[in-house]
């Protein structure tokens, strides 16, 4: 399998806050979308910073398109489109000004494509960015990230300010983008519903550590949540359990092998697990 992005043992510590991104390792294959999930402060933006060199990592390796990217590798950055949450551009810019500036930065900047996206997103070209709504600024940033024909999109909470209709349209655009099997997307999001729709791989991050990274098919076929009573817990084999969360009338148990559990615990209720539920169990549940 060919990978567009590979992280090996990436670490970054912020001495003032004490936060550490701890030996992060994962790979994003070509033609895939990876959802990057985690609560606020889990380290998603720090990881993205290490990937893009906006943060100086303390250790580990990040390979983009098969090689490590240094500050000098401007050609490598031609192939990456980035969108951050919030205001990506200075408030005094207009969409027209953005296009002029980007034309001077990207050799493959496509004015016609940018025009197509701004028309599609109904963005006024003469209006200053500071007068845009949050949704409009996000749409503008996504349009800009797509208009230089990148191979890799890195989106940090890029859909967070959009209404459900627009979010759905964006997800369609992302799916269109990965139709080309040389393209990939790393999509960090709190909105796990979006990731359920588009992500091929999910990476769960908590306190700077990866809790789990798996393909969506693997998540659906292997992982499940078993509903038990508290008194049934001692009868469970600890090897089958990843995490559990006690609730008022039942205990939710995250299991790593659905089929084996179905055979072993014939009377148990075993449900498919959503990304949201999985995140809650991994973050808030007791790890076994």
């Amino acid at each position: 399998m060919e990978y567009i992005l590979e992280l090996e043992q990436v670490t970054k510590t912020f001495p003032k806050s004490g936060f550490t991104l701890d030996s992060l390792s994962f790979s994003l294959p070509c033609g895939a979308i990876m959802g990057f999930v985690g609560e606020n402060g889990a380290g998603k933006t720090t990881a993205i910073g290490c990937i893009l060199n906006t943060l100086k990592k303390d250790g580990g390796t990040v390979r983009l398109f098969g090689r490590e990217m240094s500050d000098q590798d401007t050609a490598l950055r031609e192939g990456i489109g980035v969108v951050y949450d919030g205001e990506n551009f200075p408030g005094y810019w207009t969409a027209a000004r953005l296009s002029q500036i980007m034309k001077g930065l990207y050799t493959r900047w496509d004015d016609a494509l940018f025009q197509h996206y701004t028309d599609r997103f109904r963005l006024p070209k003469a209006q200053k960015v500071k007068h845009y709504s949050k949704g409009m600024t996000m749409k503008l940033a996504i349009a800009a990230a797509l208009s230089h024909h990148p191979s890799l999109l890195i989106l940090d909470e890029a859909t967070s300010g959009l209404d459900p209709v627009m979010r759905d349209e964006m997800l369609d655009i992302f799916l269109e983008f990965v139709q080309d099997e040389r393209h990939s997307i790393l999509l960090s999001s709190h909105i796990t519903e979006d990731l359920e729709k588009v992500a091929d791989y999910i990476t769960f991050l908590h306190n700077g550590k990866i809790l789990l990274t798996a393909s969506r098919n693997e998540l659906a076929s292997r992982y499940a949540v078993m509903r038990c009573r508290e008194r049934e817990l001692p009868s469970l084999d600890p090897g089958d359990v990843i995490a559990l969360r006690k609730r008022d009338f039942q205990t939710d148990v995250l299991i790593s092998d659905k089929k084996a559990a179905q055979r072993k615990y014939r009377d148990a209720v075993i449900d498919p697990v959503s990304i949201d539920e999985m995140m809650l169990l991994l973050v808030k549940g007791e790890r076994v």
Binding site: G49, L52, N53, T54, L55, K56, D71, Q72, T74, A75, R77, E78, I80, V82, Y84, D85, G86, E87, N88, F89, P90, G91, Y92, W93, R97, Q100, I101, M102, K103, G104, L105, Y106, T107, I154
Partner: protein
Amino acid sequence: MKGLLKNNICATRSAATVFSVFLIPFGIFAAAVISQSLQIGYVMTATIGFSFNAASIVKNESASKWNRLKLTLPVRRADVIRSLFVNQLIWLSAGILFSGAELGVSWLLHGCMFDQPLDILSLFALGISMSLFMGAVFFPLCYAGGEERSEAFLIISVLCAFVLDFTIISMANDLLEPGTRAIVAGAVLLIACSLLAFALSYPLTVWIYQRKDY
């Protein structure tokens, strides 16, 4: 680099436009009235003012994620800094043009307002060197101390430029015999020292910027 420079010019332009609205009537008044002090004031205001506007864009950009996003663009960190330094020189040139135009009109109307035409050279040397010293101090200080505190650093750098300029002037006055040669040598010294400081400040700022996390 071209795009960065375009952005910097565009960012400075809105503040510079407001500044020009003040500078044009001031220039008309200074050219119309026979006053050497007004001429000096105008030249200093124009040369330093435009450079001040150019340096202040660092603060405006730090309000959005653009500071972080531009590091993901196909530019080197050194290019980001170079574009700021070039922008500073472009707006200094604008200040020189404004000053030159005002002095030219004043000369046409009233003749030379100074004891000797050579004094104009000293005046320009002082304005230019002050702008260059200001930039030379501001950029490394701002990136070392954080862009969010750039307003304070901008004021500190203007004061530093003032102190540096008048230290050089007083040293030149002590070392050189009064006369034409001293005026020319003083002006050359001011320009040379400030240009050197500006040139040395660039690699220092790049060195600091390359170590920064965004």
